[in-house]
Assembly symmetry: C2
Homo-oligomer: 211 residues x 2
């Protein structure tokens, strides 16, 4: 299941830009499989993808930029459910996130990017924009729930989805224990109850704090 | 406000072990103030504290071990409230956490440790034990709430407190935006509603998943 999504102004799928991206993502995956994160370099990726090194640097800037691109690609396979109820949507998405980070390979990617973001503002910006995009897409399930009258009208989708994701990153980065379906179901139950209780409504005095 | 706490087998406050620890924590703080995290070394800390380098290595193992010790020291100043209601306790603790991580210095400490934990299993173990200890202490407010009949009897304190903390680490490590009082109040409201809804009850088939 793929949810295709393209930022405004981005080349259409099938164009030259898309083919470059595809080749680079494939090369990053292969390089990671062969040499791991420690062995990943811009040079090796450019060579394997058959793309000019200057192009790779211009578009992805650093190794972690490549990892963010790969995360974007992989996360496009996390389905954004539309089950007809917020409870069903939250549970399905939480389980999909649990399955996503249940893979050691994906878990180590997010660890690497978070670790790098602490040292490099450009990586931090990449990481933030990866999450901003995902949160905006997933937020539609909250907008639908508001439309159905399931939630207060001033509910902020970004806050709801951030709250759904937060326990996974806490488990991965802080307590460093396995991500499982129990965590997913607990997160979904918690966010549903909290959203009903108005924990994620926008403050009257400003825009969304962005998770 | 200090909540003194000592692991079983640890020397009593005032003993030689405690004085060593005190000198090392003070030296780490001073070194960080002078040269930042990048300039912190075991040697400089040992010299400034007037402690044998071998002792510092044996007890703290690496620079991040020192940082965890400092975090333990600093977090002992985060009060664990006992207001008489779970709502009051959660809100007070969330605001105290927000104030704690509202300081750029403390925020950069946790970033450094999380970043290092991704590369070094020993640091990961230090980080986990820091949180395990904090969660166990803070869990008492949940036990009191269960005792007052405010929550289901099988509510797991570790899950409740992990859920209270998760949004802060998501904000610090993932979206990398400021931690503020709005986040604290949202987290407290969310966790209270979720706990009432039974999102944090123990599964019948096993022990607590540890946050």
């Amino acid at each position: 299941m793929t949810t295709a999504h393209h930022a405004p102004g981005e080349a259409r799928p099938g164009g030259r830009t898309a083919r470059t991206r595809e080749a680079v993502v494939a090369a990053v995956l292969e390089e990671l499989g062969e040499s791991g994160f420690g062995g990943l370099t811009m040079e090796k990726v450019a060579q394997r993808a058959g793309i000019h090194l200057a192009t790779v640097y211009r578009r992805w800037r650093c190794v972690e930029g490549l990892i963010c691109e790969l995360l974007t690609e992989l996360s496009a396979d996390v389905p954004l459910p539309d089950s007809g109820s917020l409870a069903g949507d939250l549970r399905a998405l939480a389980r999909a996130i649990a399955a996503f980070y249940g893979e050691a390979r994906v878990r180590s990617l997010i660890e690497a990017v978070v670790s790098a973001a602490g040292r490099d503002p450009q990586v931090a910006a990449e990481l933030r924009s990866f999450f901003d995009e995902r949160l905006a897409l997933a937020g539609r399930m909250v907008q639908r729930a508001v439309g159905r009258g399931e939630l207060p009208p001033d509910t902020d989708p970004v806050q709801v989805l951030s709250a759904l994701g937060a326990p996974f990153y806490y488990r991965i980065l802080i307590t460093r224990r396995p991500v499982d379906r129990d965590l997913a179901d607990s997160a979904a139950t918690a966010v549903l109850a909290a959203a009903h209780a108005g924990a994620y409504t926008r403050k009257a005095d400003g825009p969304s704090p962005g998770g």
